[in-house]
């Protein structure tokens, strides 16, 4: 046990003392934050706050638009300017003073039709301003309790027929959190697996394997390497989660769907449980590759064969979201390598029958046992093969080296 601890400690400190680790650690959240920030800035920057004109032929507007006390980049304001007639409005539009104008025709309250003449197309922000102006004037003088709340419309809560699952409106977080955590976890599992693979191939490239197996048992060596490299992956994950938590605590109240956040612990824990066998078989598969190939370049080529099926559900996310209990989503959630992402996505958005969840765990555990068995064979056959790759066919045959 002590030697396993030493192997794990060495693997961990070796990575943590490496520049590449810190670059990955900071680059990933910094990259995500940068992309998020850029997309928000681009969205707000694209809002045109030039004034919009209107011609009130219906004589509806008695109360003009009220300018808010405070406006900012993130709280834009589009002024609505009244014009006496269409000619002057058109002239102002052609002159570039306004980005367009709309006409409230006579008999508006019969047809509720508006016409918008534009230089630039109608944006949702203009619509909101115009709707607010017209609603306020239509309902002026009426005494309506909770007027603002009324204009928002109803909130929906969805409940499954058996009553086990309830998702309220504006609770996107409930769906997004398990999905995001699963994806982050899979990234952590894959990066840990990548480190493990690298560590094994390096033992071969450095010719240290013979020293290792005459100092430590293969089981201690493997367990130490897996624990050490998993810890590296988990350290990254933890660091990213701390960043995410800091962002939520600092800015959470400004992100609409994060308000009144409720973490769906049940779904989250189930998703994390799915990651355990995923981690085991990923490690075992990486160990198979690491033991059978001879160079890191060759290893990285073969790794794609593992990465692709694991991330497959991510590429077909829209199919799974549209029909989470459909055949395609179910196939993906029962295939052991794509199961962690596919099943956790389904669990997040729909009600997956218990037997399916049990079945996927059984499939994944069997797959873990198979890959561990193969990894053991690969390690024994391939550990001292410095120049020759061990073909898969040979792995499946009776062992020549030890039996």
């Amino acid at each position: 046990m002590n030697k396993m601890h030493e192997v794990a400690k060495y693997e961990y400190t070796r990575h943590v003392n490496n520049k590449a680790f810190w670059i990955t650690l900071f680059a990933v959240p910094a990259g995500i934050l940068l992309i998020m920030l850029l997309s928000v800035v681009i969205t707000f920057a694209s809002i045109d706050t030039d004034p919009v004109g209107y011609v009130d032929q219906a004589g509806l507007i008695k109360q003009p638009q009220v300018q808010p006390e405070k406006t900012s980049f993130f709280e834009p304001f589009i002024p609505l300017i009244p014009y006496a007639d269409e000619t002057s409005a058109r002239w102002a539009a052609e002159d570039g003073q306004i980005q367009g104008y709309f006409v409230i025709p006579q008999g508006y309250t019969d047809s509720y039709q508006l016409i918008y003449y534009f230089n630039k197309p109608l944006s949702s922000e203009i619509r909101t301003e115009v709707d607010t102006l017209i609603r306020t004037n239509l309902l002026a003088g009426e005494t309506i309790p909770n007027f603002e709340r009324l204009t928002e419309g109803s909130h929906f809560t969805q409940a499954s027929l058996d009553g086990t699952r309830i998702v309220g409106e504006n609770e996107a977080a409930k769906i997004i959190i398990p999905m995001v955590v699963s994806i982050l976890f899979v990234i952590a599992v894959m990066s840990s697996g990548g480190y493990l693979l690298q560590a094994l191939v390096e033992e071969k490239e450095n010719r240290t394997m013979e020293i290792m197996v005459t100092s430590v048992s293969p089981n201690q060596l493997m367990a130490g390497k897996i624990i050490g490299n998993l810890s590296v992956g988990l350290t990254q994950l933890l660091a990213w989660m701390v960043v995410a938590a800091a962002v939520l605590i600092g800015f959470g109240d400004r992100i609409p769907f994060m308000q009144n956040l409720q973490i769906p612990w049940g779904e989250l824990i189930l998703s994390l449980l799915l990651m355990l066998p995923a981690f085991v078989f990923t490690s075992a598969l990486m160990a198979i590759i690491g033991s059978t190939v001879t160079e890191s370049q060759e290893a990285s080529q073969v790794t794609g064969l593992i990465t692709l099926p694991i991330f497959l559900p991510y590429f077909f996310l829209s199919f799974i979201l549209q029909n989470p209990n459909g055949t395609f989503a179910r196939i993906l959630s029962f295939f052991p390598m794509s199961a962690p992402l596919a099943m956790s996505t389904r669990i997040a958005i729909t009600n997956v029958p218990s037997w399916e969840i049990i079945l996927v765990f059984v499939i994944m555990i069997l797959f873990c046992l198979l890959t561990i068995w193969l990894a053991g064979k690969a390690f024994r056959q391939g550990m001292l093969q410095y120049s020759k790759r061990v073909p898969l066919k040979q792995l499946l045959k009776k062992e020549a080296g030890r039996e």
Partner: protein, 312 residues
């Protein structure tokens, strides 16, 4: 008690039989030479002894029984394929390898500086291993082999990449270890080192044992009654009782006729009035014995004789 007992081990890889029925014993306080041409099965035999490979047949007892995890700390191994972690500093690499041999941090801190000093590596301890020369890496590897004070030391080509000064250093260390009662097994091609260090040797080729026994005993077994002499005078073309006269580099080799002893030849030389600078019995070098036995085996007539010798 013997530290290493190898009994009739054999091992095949596919159709290739790497080791066939090899047996030998190594005792504490002994340097044992494992010799053989390239691809003769030396490394495979070592790997079987260390339980890296399981033999197809036969068995190995090391320190009184089969190899197990607890014995790994009692063995120091310098593999043929040298291996150190290239991307870490020399100190970190050696500390790690020592912890895997069961040493505590305190023990390592107490012993490592002295070893680094002895091998003149102290000033390089903060350098990355990959920045060190081949010879320095070789010395570092020897430190990793010895630092945990193993009972059994198995070294595969310990002198490769070493200059004469460091070769002498390693020889001295191996002699010290022998004096301390350690069991040392050495595989090498350098016959002069074997002659200077080994107490006992085994010679294998194509997985077969060709020669096994104490070094002195083997010399005696292959000794001829030829003589080596050095004289400043020219020798007559023929000498009574001498079948052949060969001029070597600085010496002259005399092969006596059957029935003539070296003593008879000395008397003849003195009687002829030849002033001798040197006179010695021509013992074949280990190199000569090696070539003779391996070639004999390849011609198909050596094996039987040697097997017989081994049984004896």
């Amino acid at each position: 008690m013997q530290s290493i007992v190898v009994e009739h081990i054999s091992k095949s890889f596919g159709d290739v039989q790497a080791v066939k029925d090899v047996s030998f014993e190594v005792a504490p306080g002994e340097i044992f030479g494992l010799l053989g041409p390239n691809g003769s099965g030396k490394t495979t035999s070592i790997r079987i002894i260390l339980d890296i490979y399981e033999p197809d047949g036969g068995q190995v007892a090391i320190l009184g029984g089969p190899m197990d995890e607890s014995k790994k700390n009692l063995i120091g191994y310098l593999p043929e394929e040298r291996g150190l972690y290239q991307d870490v500093t020399l100190e970190v690499c050696l500390q790690y390898l020592a912890t895997l041999k069961g040493m505590s941090r305190e023990e390592i801190d107490a012993k490592l500086p002295a070893y680094l000093e002895q091998f003149e590596l102290s000033e390089y301890r903060k350098k990355k291993v990959k920045e060190l020369s081949k010879g320095m890496q070789q010395k570092a590897q020897l430190i990793a082999t010895l630092i945990h004070d193993p009972q059994v030391i198995i070294v595969d080509e310990p002198f490769s990449s070493l200059d004469p000064v460091n070769t002498q250093l390693v020889k001295d260390i191996l002699k010290e270890q022998r004096a301390a009662g350690k069991t040392i097994m050495m595989s090498t091609h350098q016959m002069n080192q074997v002659e200077q260090l080994c107490d006992k040797i085994i010679l294998i080729d194509h997985g077969n044992v060709l020669l096994y026994g104490g070094l002195q005993e083997i010399y005696e077994r292959f000794a001829t009654n030829q003589l080596l002499i050095n004289t400043s005078q020219p020798l007559p073309e023929a000498l009574p009782g001498v079948a052949r006269i060969e001029q070597l580099n600085t010496m002259i080799k005399l092969t006596p006729e059957p029935g003539i002893t070296p003593h008879d030849l000395l008397v003849t030389l003195v009687n002829q009035g030849i002033a001798l600078n040197a006179f010695e019995i021509a013992t074949p070098s280990l190199d000569e014995i090696f070539i003779q036995v391996v070639q004999g085996s390849n011609n198909g007539n050596g094996k039987k004789e040697i097997q017989h010798e081994q049984d004896a």
